[in-house]
């Protein structure tokens, strides 16, 4: 199967943007909005994720995020395989939570 956990990538964007003045807050929320429009979902405050079906597709979205980086602030962009992403352990109030299922090529609702 060509759509396996080694080929699928997750793009992580980690950012800290200044939110002192009104203008800075506006810039920060615009950046966040653009990320949402590009298909990122919030994992934690200021950590956003996007599922990409291949390395090439991940490159596209990384390039897009780079194209609307805010002037000020600290942004990290990282790319990991679905295999690595799947090994993440998630806790809520010390309780282990299962990760939401992955988007697949075929989804039946």
């Amino acid at each position: 199967m060509r759509l396996n956990e080694y080929r699928i990538m997750w793009v992580l964007v980690l950012f800290d943007l200044p939110t002192e003045s009104k203008k800075e807050r506006k810039v920060a929320s615009e950046f966040r909005k653009k990320m949402l429009k590009d298909g990122f979902t919030m994992f934690q405050f200021s950590i956003y994720l996007r599922h990409s079906s291949s390395k090439e597709n991940a490159e596209v979205h990384i390039k897009r995020v780079k194209s609307f980086l805010p002037e000020k602030g600290h942004v990290g962009i990282m790319c990991i395989t679905d295999k690595q992403f799947g090994m993440m352990e998630i806790f809520y109030n010390q309780e282990r939570k299962t990760k939401a299922t992955n988007p697949e090529q075929l989804e039946l609702f």
């Binding site: 199967m1 060509r2 759509l3 909005k33 949402l36 429009k37 590009d38 298909g39 979902t41 919030m42 996007r50 079906s53 291949s54 090439e56 597709n57 939401a100 988007p103 697949e104 090529q105 075929l106 989804e107 039946l108 609702f109």
Partner: protein, 316 residues
């Protein structure tokens, strides 16, 4: 890139927010706006299948799906695909492409049809070969196809093919089904597994039609099919060599002894894997959905006179 296939078989509310498709279930089953895990980026979607009478879809979502060149398929209460909605303006060079397609000369269309039939018969032969059924005559017919297929070898090959394709499958438990397999007739309203073939071909037709609009061609104007009641003549022409891929899926479902009188969820799931099947074009392997895009873009080049050969897959 390979786009997503979304299938909705339950009541759902579909709308859009921030260029994402948002899914909400009435009486949510964990997929609703509270979890925030209910969105799919519209640009990643290739095919959407609506297969429930209680699906509500917003018009802005429909518009965005079409703008991103997704195919929207609707099904009736018997779960068979009945409608297909496509983008009208899927390509930069839209009107130039329409023009080359409309102006295509008869000899050109005949040659393209010859290539199509040749590859279709060859693929049928290779499929029979894979399952150990006699196929020598198909190989010969594939070589003999002339420009425009005046001898109608396509039909002759089809008769032989359908007579033999399921004949070596033995069903033990259900004798009436077994009888229809040994005496199989390919008819739209025919006995099972015709229902599975119809379903699979409908998905394939949607993929091909979507891809044609993406290459800036009109799926309506065929190179051979001229049925005035059919809105997807060109899609029907171009999907011919791809049909054996659907046949092989259906063959395997029947072979595995699943009950195929009804379209169950497990069967649908298998038939909906059509876009991700491996196809090989000029020694290059790719998912079927991508392969179809290569085929349609080569067809557009043929109409423009930049290419002489359509890139069709070879069944393996």
């Amino acid at each position: 890139m390979i786009k997503k296939t979304l299938y909705f078989g339950n009541p759902a509310y579909l709308n859009t927010r921030d260029e994402q498709l948002v899914i909400n279930f009435p009486g949510a089953k964990g997929i609703d706006d509270l979890t925030k895990m209910n969105t799919v980026p519209i640009e990643d979607i290739g095919v959407v299948i609506l297969d429930h009478q209680q699906i509500t879809i917003s018009h802005s979502l429909v518009a965005k799906l079409l703008a991103n060149n997704a195919a929207l398929i609707t099904c009736d209460h018997t779960h068979h695909p009945t409608g297909l909605m496509l983008n009208l303006d899927g390509n930069q060079l839209q009107s130039a492409r329409f023009k080359t397609q409309a102006d295509a000369t008869l000899p050109l269309k005949k040659q393209l049809w010859q290539q199509t039939v040749k590859q279709k018969i060859l693929n049928q032969a290779l499929f029979l070969q894979k399952n150990g059924i006699n196929h020598e005559n198909l190989l010969k017919w594939s070589d003999d196809v002339k420009s425009g297929d005046p001898d109608n070898l396509e039909a002759r090959a089809a008769v032989y093919y359908w007579k033999n394709v399921f004949c070596n499958l033995r069903l033990t438990e259900n004798s009436s089904l077994a009888f229809h397999l040994t005496d199989f007739k390919r008819e739209r309203e025919g006995h099972p597994p015709n229902n599975l073939l119809n379903y699979g071909y409908a998905i394939l037709r949607a993929i091909v039609a979507r891809s044609l609009t993406g290459s800036g061609l009109l799926p309506t104007m065929g190179i051979y099919h001229r049925n005035q009641y059919n809105a997807y003549c060109l899609a029907d022409d171009i999907m011919e060599p791809y049909r054996p891929y659907v046949d092989s899926l259906v063959y395997n479902i029947v072979k595995n002894g699943e009950d195929f009188t009804e379209l169950t969820n497990s069967i649908k799931k298998q038939l909906l894997s059509i876009p991700t099947m491996d196809v090989v074009i000029d020694e290059e392997k790719s998912p079927l959905m991508i392969g179809v895009q290569r085929t349609t873009s080569s067809l557009a080049k043929c109409f423009e006179g930049k290419l002489r050969k359509i890139a069709y897959p070879r069944f393996l």
